[in-house]
Each structure stands twice: as C-alpha cells, then as structure tokens.
Symmetry: C2
Subunit: 649 residues, 2 copies
C-alpha cells in the first residue's frame, strides 16, 4: 500500500492494525545520500572500531533525508500454514506545516540520487506528497506553543519575561496605537449593548492583535470570546463574540480538539514509528544499521555522541532487532550463501537447501511479485527482507529433532542473532552489538603505516611484498592499516622500517594508545547489560542531552588504561553473572578461543544477548543445534575471511 500525505490519516488505522497483529515486522529506508565525507570509502575503514564507525556514520550520514520508509508486517496464519503480509510504502517529507515550524535542511548526494533515479524512484511523490513528521523535542515544543497561546488567549498566562519600561497597568499601549485600541474598545462596547452576536474588527498587524487580546482580556474577563480569523487573502483580523460561560467553554473545547488534530498531523509519520516501537515486536532489516540510525535521528532525537548512549536509545526504540545480512554472513548460512546483497540473497534462499517461504497477501493489500523485482522501493525491500528472514529461520528448524518446517519469530533459535547489526567492511568485527559490549578482536598482526600522499595500494603491496599476503585498510591519503598474515612478521617489519625515510610503521596497539591518550573516557558495561535501563521517557521526551544512568551503571563506570580495557581483553571471557539478568537459563559465550559462539553454555560465564532471555525453557530451548562457530579463532591468518566483506556499499 502506497501512503502519502493524501491518504495518511485514513490509512493510519490499517497500519496500527497490521503492526498489532503481526508476528514480526520488516523495515527498509531509502535516503537522499550516504556520506557527506570526502568519499564513501573514507567512511568505512576496515579497521574501524565500533566507536569510530558509529562516530563516522553519525557525523557524515545523518544530514541526509530518509524519504521513503518501507514497512512489511508478517502474520503467521496457522490454518493456512503460511505468512500473510501487509506491505506499506511511505513517502516522507518534512513539509513545514506553519510559518513557525522547523524548516528542515537536508543534503542530497548526487550519486545516490542518480542511482534512485535510474531505479525509477518518484521524487515528485516525495516532495509534493510526502508525509511530514516531528521528532520528540519538536513535538513537545509544538505542544508547549499551543498551551502557551491558549493561556495567553485566556489571559491566564504568566508573561515569560518582563518588558522594559512597562507600566504597572496590565496593558501598556504605545502612544501611536492608543487611538486604534480606543476605537476597538468602542466597537466592543457597542456590541455588548446591541443585539448582534459578533463583530469583526478590521485587519491589523500581529502586534496590534496582541494589544487587542490583552486589552479585551483585561477589560472584559468574562462574556466575550475573542479569536483571530484569517480571510481567504490570508489577512488576519479579530472576531469578537458575546458568549456565556458554557458557550465559551464549548468553543474552548472545540478549539483544543482542533489543535490536537493539528498536532497529530504535524507529528505525522513519527506516529508510525512510535507504534512499531511500542509494539516491542521483532523488527527485521537488511544491513540495517543506517536504517536504524536514520529512523531514530529523524523521528525520535538527534543521535547521541557516544556509541553506548546510542545503543541504549536504540534498545528503547527497537527492543528486538535482527539484521538479515548479519544472519546470512553467520554460520550455518555463511558457507551456503555466496552473495549477501539483498537481491541475491532472496534468490539463493529460494533454492536448496533452503525453501521459498509460503506467503500470501492479506486481503486488500497489493502483492509484490518477486519475479518483477521492484528493488529499492522501500516497501518491496522490506517485503523480501522479511522473506529472507523466514527462509533462514525455517532452515534452522531443520536442525531440530524432529525437524520443523516453520520456526516462529519468537523462537529461541533466532535469539543469537538479536540486536547484532551488520558492520560494513570491518574485517574482524562482523557486527555492532546493540544490547551489550562489542567484540574486541586482537589486532597484533596489524600495522599502522604512514607514507607520502602519492602512494597507492600497489606501493604498499610492494613494500610488504616479502611478507606474502597482506590486507590494506586505507585511513586517509597518507596512512593505512596493513594486516600481515603471520604474527611473527610484525617484528621484522618494525625492524626494517627503522631505516626507512619515506614511510613509518607503528604497531596497532601503539597507534591506538597514542590516539586515545587525550580521550580517556571509557565506560564499562554494567554486568547485567540493559536490565536497569528505563525506556519510558523515550515516549514522552527525547533523549538528547544527558541520559539518566542507573546507579548500578554509574557505580561501574571507571577509567581504564586503554591496553587494559579496550584492546587486550578479547581473548578473555567477559564475566557476567548469568543468573543476574533474571534467572536466565540460557546464555551464549563470547569466546574467541573455542567454537562456542552460537552454542549455549548453560551456567557458564557469558554475555546476555537478548532481553527475551527471561523466558527460559521454551519449546525449542532443549533442542539447540550445534552450529559451527563463526568467530575469530585465535589465528589472525583466517580471521578476516570468516565474514564476507561486501565489495560494494
């Protein structure tokens, strides 16, 4: 279903209903650009830390507009043994709804626009009929404006400032307006003494209208209703009506309802995101980090500076996320899937050993035909993302004894994939862990190299040609990370470089230490993860400035030397009391030295990966399959090949 400003209000009920009944939701966004940095590749160094990557995306990607949002809801129909889908394709545009509303500026990147144009994207629909939206702060401000104006009209408002030279009297009318105001008062006196019900005053300036409101409120605190009316020519004048108290209250009531509707219209598309958020349902996306960041940034609040704060906000807005690109890049899928781009993935997941999921369209909803490939229409992309998820989830069912053909979106089998968002082009950190600390791979085999700006990749290959296979991750014109295949070579390279004049080599650890010397801030995760986080404030006010940190977390916060906290703990198990987060009987170890990443380690030191883990002992918990590990196995030589690093954005 295509939804624009024209049919948004009448469609909202259908959207709410679809979210309400769904087993899971799939989403996708289309943006006006990806990176406003010097180049897209500068955004994605292969050796970025999660913090660095988040900071780059936040800085260089959030000024683009999310202007198409796809939502596809999936409800499993037991009787028909298939999913029924409802697909929505929303066009979004921050049309200023009044003269005082925010006038959003957004960046367009010509390559992205050109790409969408080549896919037949309808920009006219976005710009002419896009649904407006407000973030939480803007909504609150608008609400306050309405209240303030109402108070001012009622004369009950306290002035927010003290005017200079203002007299003791309630209304200080400047000399040049005194005649004007006197004439108004005469007209109102006449009204009160004749049989007319209303009198229209002549059009006048905003300042004069303010004087009229103040004067009439002061002189006639009861018995009058005073209202600004706009003519067809957009001229504003004041209409004064005689009313009794009951009528005045009724008019007031109507006005408030009208204002509430105006407010709802202004909040616009954000209401859809609020509904998704409040449902708490599993939200599936493909390579969804930017989708999640944009959605929060545009419809909730400007993204926080720190990654940990972003994670907290994200868990409030989307308590359960699943990224199909990360899932497809993880065992048991990794070995079976050669190309994890959405279009290719969808095709491969129809073929053996996978099965095309059984889906049907809900009544009244247009069906997408995957053979027609409406790629890069957000609604379609959301739809096939959902299909991919169903197909992969069902495949996991084949490992059960007895095998199951249908795996529900609430199954424990998919929990290991919860809240892990695919990280593009990071060679040894496959995902951003939204609900816990991130992986911290050892980078002992990595060198930081600086060189003249004329150097190209081939020069680095030549420089390290004696060392066999290397991997180059460009940082900027004059520096790059070079990963060697053998740890022993690091010392040799370091020794050789002593005599070099044109280039310089540092170990990764040294480089990070010198880089982070100035930024000593380092928050440790609370042992019980997000258990203490309260999200309720997200649905009232936004979380732009200081977050409220739970006492437990605050107590745990301390500064560590970098080598201690960030970069050398990867091989250690992160100690967490598995019982601490609510009697969870099922935990998953993050451990690079064993094959146990996806394997349940009951009672062992582990990180809780899912807010749903409290529901221990569900139907499939005992039948957990022994999936092959997909994590760094201690040998740097193979670690980088464990996840497919896509070649194109």
């Amino acid at each position: 279903m295509e939804i624009t400003r024209r049919n948004f209000k009448e469609s909202l009920g259908a959207v709410y209903g679809a979210v309400e009944e769904a087993d899971f939701l799939a989403i996708d966004g289309e943006f006006s650009g990806i990176s406003d940095g010097p180049s897209v590749s500068a955004l994605t160094n292969g050796m970025d830390t999660p913090e660095e990557r988040y900071a780059k995306l936040r800085k260089h990607s959030m000024d683009f507009l999310l202007f198409q949002f796809g939502l596809c809801t999936f409800r499993y129909d037991q009787a028909q043994s298939k999913y029924l889908t409802k697909s929505f394709n929303f066009y979004i545009f921050p049309k200023p709804f009044s003269r005082t509303s925010p006038d959003i500026k957004f960046i367009c990147q010509s390559s992205s626009i050109d790409f969408l144009a080549s896919q037949g994207f309808d920009f006219n629909k976005v710009f002419r009929s896009g649904i407006p939206y407000l973030n939480q702060d803007e909504e609150a401000q608008l609400r306050e404006q309405y209240e303030e104006r109402r108070n001012q009209m009622n004369g009950s408002g306290t002035p927010s400032y003290i005017s200079p030279l203002s007299g003791k009297g309630p209304v200080n009318v400047p000399d040049e307006h005194k005649d004007f105001i006197n004439r108004v008062v005469e007209k109102v006196e006449a009204l009160l003494n004749n049989s007319e019900k209303t009198v229209d005053l002549e059009p006048c300036s905003g300042f004069q209208r303010k004087l009229i409101f103040q004067t009439l409120n002061w002189k006639y605190p009861k018995g009058l209703h005073v209202e600004t009316v706009e003519t067809e020519k957009k001229e504003r004048f004041i209409q004064v009506s005689k009313v009794d108290e009951e009528e005045r209250r009724r008019i007031e009531q109507q006005k408030q309802e009208r204002e509430q509707e105006e407010l709802n219209d202004a909040v616009g598309f954000s209401r859809v995101i609020h509904a998704i958020s409040k449902s708490g349902k599993l939200v599936v996306g493909h390579n969804m980090l930017l989708d999640v960041m944009h959605t929060i940034h545009q419809f909730y609040c400007p993204l926080p500076e720190e990654l940990d704060d972003f994670k907290e906000v994200t868990m409030c807005v989307f308590p359960r996320l699943l990224d199909t690109k990360l899932m497809a890049s993880t065992q048991p899928f990794k070995d079976l899937i050669t190309n994890t781009s959405l279009a290719e993935l969808e095709k491969q997941l129809k073929e053996k050993p996978f099965k095309a999921p059984k889906v049907g369209c809900s009544e009244g909803f247009q069906c997408y035909d995957t053979a027609a490939e409406q790629l890069h229409e957000a609604g379609y992309d959301a739809y096939i993302t959902g299909l991919c998820f169903v197909s992969m989830a069902n495949y996991l069912g084949s490992f059960l004894t007895p095998p199951r053909a249908h795996i529900s979106a609430r199954s424990k089998l998919i929990e290991p994939f919860y809240n892990k968002l695919f990280l593009m082009r990071v060679v040894d950190i496959p995902y951003l862990n939204i609900s816990g600390p991130d992986l911290q791979p050892k980078r002992d085999h990595v060198l930081y190299v600086t060189f003249p700006k004329e150097w190209k990749t081939s020069d680095l290959y030549q420089l390290f040609s004696a060392f066999g296979n290397i991997q180059v991750s460009w940082i900027d014109d004059t520096s790059a990370f070079v990963s060697l295949s053998q740890l022993e070579q690091v010392q040799i390279a370091m020794n050789t470089s002593q005599y070099a004049e044109s280039y310089r080599i540092q170990t990764y650890a040294d480089y990070m230490q010198s880089k982070q010397k100035s930024t000593s801030k380092n928050r440790k995760w609370a042992e019980d993860g997000w258990a203490n986080t309260t999200c309720s404030h997200m649905h009232n006010r936004s979380l732009t400035g200081k977050r409220s940190i739970s006492p437990t977390q605050e107590d745990q916060t301390s500064d560590f030397g970098v080598a201690d906290s960030n970069w050398s703990h990867y091989t250690k198990k992160i100690k967490t009391d598995a019982g601490g987060s609510g009697g969870c009987g099922q935990t998953y170890a993050v451990d690079s030295t064993t094959d146990s990443w996806l394997k349940p380690q009951p009672g062992e030191a582990a990180v809780s990966t899912s807010p749903a883990q409290g529901e221990a002992g569900s139907e499939e918990a005992d039948a957990w399959p022994e999936l092959p590990a997909n994590q760094n196995q201690g040998s740097q030589a193979t670690s980088t090949g464990l996840f497919d690093v896509p070649q194109v954005w």
Copy 2:
C-alpha cells in the same frame, strides 16, 4: 524550449546561435534552497554592509543547487519593430559521469522544495534527466587525467612519484603476479608470430591491467596497440592488437576525439554559461544577486572570500549586468511602481504610463503566454524579466526630444543601471555595485542595542517610544540596530541608557569600530576601477586561490583605519580621473549631497560606471534626461524610504 540531458547536445547549436544574434539576454535560476542559516531573516539584516551581506550569502546559500536555469534571448527585428525571443529552460543535475568524477552533495531546504512543488516543479526531470556540468577546476583536472592516462598508455609519462622498494628495471612485478604476467607475455608473443590481428586477454584487476600496460610498453615499444575494453557485464579486459605506426596513430587520434567528446559531455551545461560570458552581452535578471553568485559558484569557481574579489570575478564572467528589480526601485520608476515582485512588475509594466513591449516568438520556439503565468519556471521568469526590461527601457525613451518608442539594449540611457544588483532588505544601500565601490551611507542615527533574549520587537518600540518612529533591524536573539528618525535623539538615547541594566546602547560608529578592530584588511579601489583587470584567465583556469592583481591596483592597496576608509567617506566625492579610463566624456557622480546621481556631470569628479563608456558621443548622449535623484540626500529621516524594501524574500 525545454533542454535536458536527452536533447542537450543536439540543442547546443541553437543555444549558441540564439546568444550570438541576441541584443540582450535574460536569465533566471531556481535553487534547492535559499539559506542554511538558522533562518532566512538572519541572512538579511537591514543594516548589513555590502561586505557582510556578501559573506552571509556566500556562507549560507552556496551549498544549494541551481537546478533549473532559464535563458531567454531577445533580438530586435527592425523590420517588424519588435523583439523576437528564444526561450530555453535547462534542467541541471551534477550526475557523476564516471566512478572517479566528483560526487556533489547539495542541500535542500524543505520550505523552498515545498514551494517549488506547489508550483508544479518537476523534480523527476531534474534528477533523472538534468544536464551535468563541471566548474573550471574540475574541467582542468579531468583534462589532465585524460592526458596523464594517455601518456601512461604510451609509456611516455614520467611517474609522478617514486615507488618504494622499486627496482631499477622499468616494471616491478610483485611475486604473486609474476606467473600471470608471464602468461600474458606468452600470449602476446604468440600473437606476434601468428596471423591473428588481435588477442583478448582474460578479465583482471586494475592493478594487473596496470602491470600489463607497463610490461607490454616496455617490452614492445612499437607495433602493438593495447587497450582496456569493457564487456556488457562491466568486466574489464585488455585487448592487444598488432598495428603499424600509421594505424597506431589513427587509433590514437580517434581515441583523443572520443575523449574530447567525453570531456565536452562532462563540462555539459557550463558550456552554455561560457557562451553567455564570452558574448559579453547585456545580461538581465530580476533580483539577480543570488542567480549571479550561484552561476559563478557552480559553473566557474568557488566564490572568493572577499567581496572585491567577487566583483572582479563577476565582471569577468558577466561584464554587463542589469537588475530589473533595482531598475524598478529607482527613479523615474520608483514613484510609478508599487510592487517590484516579478509577477506584479510584469503586470504593471503593461499599463500606462508604460507600454507592453511588442514581442514575438522566433520560429521553432514555443511562446510563453503571460496570461497563463508559468511563474517559477526559470525559462518563463527569464522571459518576463526581459519583457520588464524592454518596457522600462522604452519608457526612458519618452524623456528624449523627440521621444523614442524603442530604446536599444545598448543605449546610454540604461547605462546608469549597469552592474548594480539589488540588495534585499538593506534599508539604506539599495544595490551592490559590481563595477566599483559601494555606497557608504552615514549611519549616525543608528544605534546598536543589546538586550535579554526574551525581548521582542514590541519591547524595542516601547524602549524608544519617546522618540517617535524607529526602525528595528534584528541581528540576533540579543541584539538589533535601531534607526532613530532624528539625529538629535541619538545623544539623548545614549545618555538615558547609562542607567539601564537590562540593555546596552552603542552608536553605530563605535560598534563597527570595535567589531572591525581585529580585521584590519581593507582594500582601496583602484582609481580607474576595473580598467586594468584581465579576464582572459577565467576562460582557461579558475580563480579560486590568489588572484592576479594588476600592478596599478596592487600599488594602491593599503590598510586604512576603519573610520577613515569605510564609514566616513560617504559624503565625499570619490575622486576619479574621468579621462583615465579611456577618454570617457560621460560620467556619473556618486554624491549624496546633490540630486545628481543619474545626471551626467561631464568632466566632473565621478566614478565610471560602465565598461561601455568609451563609446562617447553616441546618438542619445546629448539628450540625457534629467531624472529625479534617488540617492541618500543627507537627511537620515527620509533615506530609508527611498527604496522599497520588499517584505517577502
């Protein structure tokens, strides 16, 4: 005529022809936004100096995209006694033409986009079919790239850097590629010894292709043509052909021609602007400062930091400009025209005492119907801007003895309006003088007031209520300029404010002095204006960094105290040797104390206002009309009312 990427090349001849034959040109641009500052009004303080205004527009407006350019050419047909017009409506979009071309990012302002959308603007046409462009630097870079690549292919290029660890031999093939290269050499040897003409190598990486080029160039400096070919699947492979020297040269020649065409395609719409520029013809626009700035910024070079440099660049690109909004706001039109917005102006200039100009469409060109009002389509706006100019120019002819019904675009009558671009909302500086120093009105009656951020305009009115009429020009939340109507009041206001706690008052002169203390740079205009400026380099390389300043100008450059140079010379006549710029017998005094702004002052101290002044003694020179003055007349009380300051942008 609507011109997009699809018909640009075939239409270019018609555009060139139309510019060539025209008497004058009218232009108009549509942008993706106006101001990326906090608000549009912050961009236009009523007391901005020309330097401040230029700096604001440069900083806050140049990141928008000029995405529709209207050009309407006007040729006077003596036989029919009417103008024949050719109107072009160009859609512009910086589509990246290759993987290495610049990926432009531009800002969209939702209010501007929404406005254009409401006017039926076709964004799909812009983004799907817009004509690309390059500025002068980008064009030069691309040209260099082509040359470098050609040299590299020929083996004649000198490497731009020295590779590390590179051996003495001409090609250093890394070990892992040696087998691959050896196999290539074997294939080429086989080709040389058999009867085939060409051999296609297998697809390979860019680095491998480079190695192949280098190896074959070194091993077989003659007799081979080596070329990269792309398959339909975008795979690149190398094709090696046996050629004799003549054939090799012919292939080379074809390739160069193909490259030149590619280059022309990439330069795209900029070629139209180059043609307009080279024609040196009068270019008419309505409220055209932003149009001129955007055109130069997008198609020539990033705008220079200093206003004077901008003026110089502008005179190079557009040697004769005329702004119809400035013309309509100047006597004798000012008293006859109540609304200078383009649509209203066009209507008024059809009525008495004006006459609708006689115009017709050139053959093969679609005619605009002014009754249909296709406002905000750039081609239409350019067309009616031209009509307004013709109507006003002809009206000037009624002052001649005997009166003339047609005044040519080359007439001396319109020279006083040359190169003066309307300044929006500056109360006492009606225009930016592109070909000379700007007006420097006395601002003795202006106060700089700071106050708490809660204050509104009404608070300022109250504060100064004893002083009668005032004019408020907001600077930011906590400061504004307040113009008093009586000079004597300044001292009273200053005295009163000594005891004030919540606000503070400074005279304008004090404020400017304290503001400019740190920026002492101040270039004095050369006495002969732009006479020594050479523009030739504009059509070769851009003017982004250091400009070349003629020795005369450089000698004149010196630092002045602010009070000396900028702010107190307004009432003095600017001394210029009228004979110095080429025996010009007709000059115009800039003098705020007399009524002589538009009156010729032969032989008197004056500023030369036009590059065409050398043609003294033309047909109308003797019949110069005594137009009423429109300049600041020494009385501050009336100075601000002399020009209509439009209420809307």
